[in-house]
């Protein structure tokens, strides 16, 4: 499998570390909503099809990437920097500044 790192270009799977499901929503750090935290830490949508996930180019630029990959075919339809494409909830919380 080749993943095209937006910085390094197409690189072999062996250069990457899988960092898991990118559909999870991390609650606000101060939140004490146990259900929300449990959902974030333990539950997965485990999609059969287009799956948003994080990969770290640990054997290259070390950036975390947001990858959309079809779990039935392994075809990759999108790769971007996680810091720019992390899931929307992050963006909202960011406006609130440091947590």
């Amino acid at each position: 499998m080749l993943i095209t790192c937006p910085y390094c270009g197409p690189r072999d799977l062996s250069e990457y570390t899988y960092q898991g499901d990118a559909n999870r929503v991390r609650p606000d750090p101060a939140s004490t909503d146990q259900a929300a935290w449990n959902d974030y830490v333990y539950d997965r949508i485990n999609t059969a099809g287009e799956h948003r996930e994080f990969w770290q180019h640990s054997g290259g630029c070390r950036a975390h990437l947001l990858v959309t990959r079809n779990t039935l075919t392994h075809a990759i339809s999108f790769v971007g920097f996680a810091r720019e494409h992390g899931e929307p909830k992050h963006l909202e919380r960011r406006k609130g500044g440091k947590a």
Binding site: M1, D12, P27, V41, G86, K98
Partner: protein, 998 residues
């Protein structure tokens, strides 16, 4: 010249004689021979014994699809089992032996099995060997008793235990176009693709390029096809944008157009050149792939079809055409299609006597008739071979009338005396790689074959792979594919070579089996007969996968290349369905068997690297026993002559408590955490506060995982307002780095923080003991090291022996101690300077064992306690859990199960019988070797404590805190260690820390 070798023709060099050995007997062959062609030329017919019935078997094919003729190659004690003779290029001194026979190939006692044929039919072993339900042989015993004999009978060749001395290596390649298969289609594709400068790789599993052109007898551009192909290959070899890979099997088609290929670099040489590998494992990343892998001929299924001398027609043709070897003196052909007629004509041209062509079809094309008369062969249409006769060699065949539509047999048998029967059941395109790439092959009724699926990755098919039947169409196909693959717009007027070849009918008759009395084999190596397939059907194993698994059809070393379609056909017939309705099995890597060594590549003999500290060589010179910690090597003890491990670490630990010792801590993970938000970031990452840490001070910190369990601990030093140096445990350095990067990239990208691994930038030495400050005072310049300048957890910068150093006063040992850091390149120099300065105080270098002893006495935790299952509170680190702020893990750390009183908590243990405690032992309230107790926990670390004069340990014990002062029992049945212990506080020594603060 041997009896079976024609006087001319083929690409063998009759002027070069090569000597080799088979089963201890020496033979000669010629340059260009395979072991198969050389032995056939010597008149050999018997090559091996089958898996189950041990029936005599000859060569059936001329390539990698060979199911029968497997041998073991010997290089001294190094063994290479199960290699088809058709894949082996001979060289002087080649030494091969036959397999799966005893005592000899000619006389094999295992052959008795064939008389038990009906008894040991498909799946018989599931129905017996279960043994009695009571008595000494109940349970699994009886089966295991029988199994021993079954295992001895099964298997093929013997593997060796001697380490292989050959070299293996990997190679990464990138190209615009990878052409798989160097036949006419592949060569044309390569030429077209390369014409515009594209980077092209052409791989072919044979020694010489050309594929069928090497023996087809066609004429291309007025030349013999073999010449045409050789010239084209030379032309390609001369282009700098083309790489030709002969003897290279592309065996895996993985995601992202990544293909794996095995190049047999020096298997054909008596001695490889210096540094030359035996096998090279290519990982090829191609923008586009051209699959021109050709096809495999299928056998026909009839009684006796496995007798040595019954071969595939294409193979017989190839032996004659490429190697100038005639596998028989009187050859007959048996076919359901036209291709055998071309074979007959070529055989005749090579000097063979072609007795007859038996064809199940009532009539045939004019071209076929013409070829038959060229071959001088009697044509018997609407007939079939109902039996092949002979034992270790074919003596003749029986032929009767056969109705293709119904399979009905009639009329009196005619006997033909032949010593070679060339059979053809039509051709199956080699769709394996396309199937691996994803997608299901599609059945073509006219060609009676599975054709490649629609591409699911970037590949284009060409030649026989696509079902193309003629050389002309293959060539045109190849050119088209090559242009397309390289993205060159076809002008439509690209010059195509002219081909003269007979106009044969590509469609075979839909007949693969002749049902008559006797064992008719479908999978030759595994001895799966047509009746076995029908038995599977009868017992309900009717899906392709069940058929395969129940009968082992297609599971042999040839991976069903010859048996797959015939097997399906018989099942389809039994179920009254069409072949595609029964389905095909999905092909997976490897396309054909590859050596384990080749895929291991250059890592054979270099499984993982050594990671060394700057002081490594010094430790070794001082006689340290080195300990592998992950990839690192660290001193375990600096044993003096005659010292036991315990004596050594006790001596070292004592020295630290009494005077001063020094230990190499360079392996600790070190991460530079920099930026205006660095302090804020650390507050979120650690359970305790770091924003309040003043510049020039260090603080101990604990990290949790998101799930609230302890992850790692260490000290972090504030070197500047925005500049921290984080240290982690040796084992978790990489994990923590990734943890920090994840949160900075994914969760808090708004933070202005950079993390950089500086583990290798700094050498570290911990100087510990009451005299440690005196040692520093004696060698450090540029700063004072007294209590005011360098208080506990303080940091100063200075020089040792002219080398800039950074010194932090912190203690793992519980003694007054300092960690001295300097550039790794200066590590040894500073280390030696410290040793020198320490001489007056009898400074002692100490290793991991002493380090462990000192930390156990102090109750400090390491990976053995922070094992991914413990909470901060379990380890008495609750005081580090800040209430002032959220941090990673804070939301999850108070879950019911994480605060339950039944949890394992850290305690100290003291051995009450004066004997050592054993690591990994369990703790029970009471119990003995005879009567094991209930485990209430386990020991995580043990030592002899010189400070206490006792054997002590740390343990994780259920509700441990409430057990202080209570007695318990160490229970270690594995090492038969039982005895009384007292459970105590985990801090054994100097609980108020006066010594390190002092």
């Amino acid at each position: 010249m041997s009896p079976r070798r024609s006087s001319a023709g083929g690409r063998v060099d009759r002027t070069r004689t090569i000597r080799f050995t088979f089963d201890g007997r020496s033979f000669t062959g010629h340059a260009g021979d395979t072991l198969a062609s050389a032995l056939l030329a010597n008149g050999m017919t018997l090559f091996g014994r089958s898996f189950k019935y041990h029936r005599p078997r000859g060569v059936m094919t001329a390539g990698i699809d060979e199911p029968n003729a497997l041998v073991t190659l010997l290089k001294g004690d190094i063994r290479e089992p199960n290699i088809p003779v058709t894949e082996i290029e001979i060289y002087d001194g080649l030494n091969a032996v036959s397999q799966n026979r005893s005592p000899s190939l000619a006389f094999d006692v295992g052959a008795i099995n064939q008389y038990a044929g009906k008894l040991i039919s498909a799946g018989f072993y599931y129905k017996t060997f279960m043994g009695p339900v009571i008595g000494p042989l109940k349970g699994t015993r009886f089966w295991m008793f029988c199994e021993r004999f079954i295992r001895r009978a099964a298997g093929l060749g013997h593997a060796g235990t001697t380490a292989d001395t050959a070299r293996y290596e990997r190679m990464n390649a990138f190209c615009d176009v990878l052409v798989v298969g160097g036949g006419p289609a592949g060569l044309m594709a390569a030429k077209a693709a390369a014409s515009d400068g594209a980077r092209v790789i052409v791989a072919d599993l044979e020694a010489a390029f050309g594929g069928t052109a090497k023996w087809s007898g066609d004429v291309i551009d007025g030349k013999p096809a073999s010449e045409w192909a050789a010239e084209l290959a030379d032309e390609l070899a001369g282009m700098e944008n083309v790489r030709l890979l002969p003897r290279t099997t592309v065996w895996g088609y993985y995601d992202g157009n990544t293909l794996a290929a095995l190049e047999r670099v020096s298997d054909h040489k008596a001695n490889p050149e210096s540094g030359e590998p035996r096998h090279r494992h290519w990982t090829i990343r191609a923008k586009t792939v051209v699959l021109a892998t050709g096809g495999f001929e299928r056998p026909l299924i009839f009684p006796g079809n496995d007798i040595p001398g019954v071969m595939l027609a294409g193979a017989v043709e190839r032996f004659a055409g490429e190697y100038g070897v005639l596998p028989g003196e009187r050859i007959a052909l048996f076919t359901n299609n036209d291709s055998a007629y071309a074979a007959a004509a070529n055989l005749k041209r090579a000097g063979a006597m072609v007795v007859a062509i038996i064809d199940v079809r009532p009539e045939i094309s004019a071209a076929a008739r013409e070829l038959a008369s060229k071959a001088g062969a009697e044509v018997r249409l609407g007939q079939a071979v109902v039996a092949a006769e002979g034992g270790k060699a074919l003596t003749g065949v029986k032929v009767r009338n056969f109705e293709a539509a119904t399979g009905m047999i009639s009329g009196d048998p005619a006997s033909l005396a032949v010593d070679c029967l060339a059979v053809s059941g039509g051709w199956s395109p080699a769709v394996h790689l396309a199937s691996q790439a994803g997608g299901k092959p599609e059945w073509d009724e006219a060609l009676q074959a599975f054709l490649p699926p629609k591409p699911t990755q970037k590949w284009i098919g060409a030649g026989a792979f696509t079902g193309a039947a003629t050389t002309a169409s293959a060539i045109a196909d190849g050119q088209r594919a090559g242009l397309k693959a390289a993205g060159i717009l076809a002008q439509g007027k690209e010059k195509l070579p002219s081909v003269s070849e007979p106009a044969l009918d590509p469609s075979p008759a839909p007949v693969l089996e002749v049902r008559a009395h006797g064992k008719a084999f479908v999978d030759f190596q595994h001895d799966v007969t047509a009746d076995d397939v029908r038995l599977a059907h009868q017992e309900g194993f009717i899906s392709v996968e069940h058929l395969k698994r129940y009968t082992t059809l297609g599971m042999a070393t040839d991976q069903g290349k010859t048996s797959n379609v015939p097997g399906l056909a018989i099942m389809a017939d039994a179920r009254g369905l069409s072949i595609p309705q029964v389905g095909t099995t999905r092909f997976r890597p490897p396309f054909s068997a590859v050596s384990l060594g080749s895929v291991a590549g250059e890592r054979v003999g270099h499984i993982r690297p050594d990671r060394l500290t700057p002081m490594h060589d010094w430790h070794v010179e001082q006689g340290a026993r080195m300990y592998a910690a992950g990839l690192w090597y660290r001193p375990m003890i600096y044993g003096a002559p005659g010292e036991t491990v315990e004596q050594a670490y006790v001596r070292e630990a004592k020295a630290v408590r009494e005077s001063v010792g020094i230990v190499d801590v360079s392996t600790l993970g070190k991460i530079a955490v920099q930026g205006p938000d660095a302090a804020e970031f650390l507050d979120r990452v650690y359970t305790n506060l770091f924003s309040t840490l003043p510049v020039g001070k260090a603080r101990y910190g604990l990290m949790l995982r998101e799930d609230g369990l302890a992850m790692d601990d260490g000290t972090t030093w504030r070197l500047g307002e925005n500049d921290f140096l984080m240290t982690t445990t040796t084992a978790n350095a990489g994990k923590v780095m990734q943890h920090l990067e994840y949160f900075l990239d994914v969760v808090w990208p708004e933070l202005k923080v950079h993390v950089t691994s500086v583990s290798d930038q700094w050498a570290g030495a911990a100087v510990a003991g009451p005299k440690s400050r005196d040692v520093l005072a004696a060698c450090v310049t540029g700063t004072k090291v007294d209590n005011e300048t360098l208080p506990f957890m303080g940091i100063v910068h200075g020089e040792i022996d002219g080398v800039p150093v950074m010194i932090c006063r912190l203690s793992f040992s519980g003694e007054m101690a300092f960690e001295v850091y300097c550039g790794a390149g200066y590590g040894l120099q500073v280390w030696e300077a410290l040793i020198e300065a320490g001489k007056p105080f009898n400074i002692v270098p100490y290793g991991l064992e002493a380090l462990g002893t000192l930390r156990i006495e102090k109750g400090h935790v390491t990976g053995a306690e922070i094992d991914g299952r413990t909470t901060a509170r379990d380890l008495h680190l609750g005081w580090l859990l800040s209430k002032k702020k959220p941090f990673i893990g804070s939301a999850m750390m108070d879950r019911e199960g994480f605060v339950a009183p039944t949890r394992l908590q850290l305690v100290g243990l003291v051995s009450l019988d004066g004997r050592p405690l054993t690591g990994g032992a369990h703790i029970v309230e009471n119990g003995s070797a005879e009567q094991l107790g209930q485990s209430i926990g386990h020991i995580t670390a043990t030592c002899y404590s010189p400070a206490l004069g006792k054997y002590i340990g740390l343990a994780l014990v259920r509700d441990g805190k409430s057990r202080h002062g209570k007695r318990a029992v160490i229970s270690d049945p594995l090492r038969d260690r039982f005895g009384p212990v007292e459970i105590v506080n985990h801090i054994f020594f100097d609980p108020d820390g006066s010594r390190m603060h002092g």
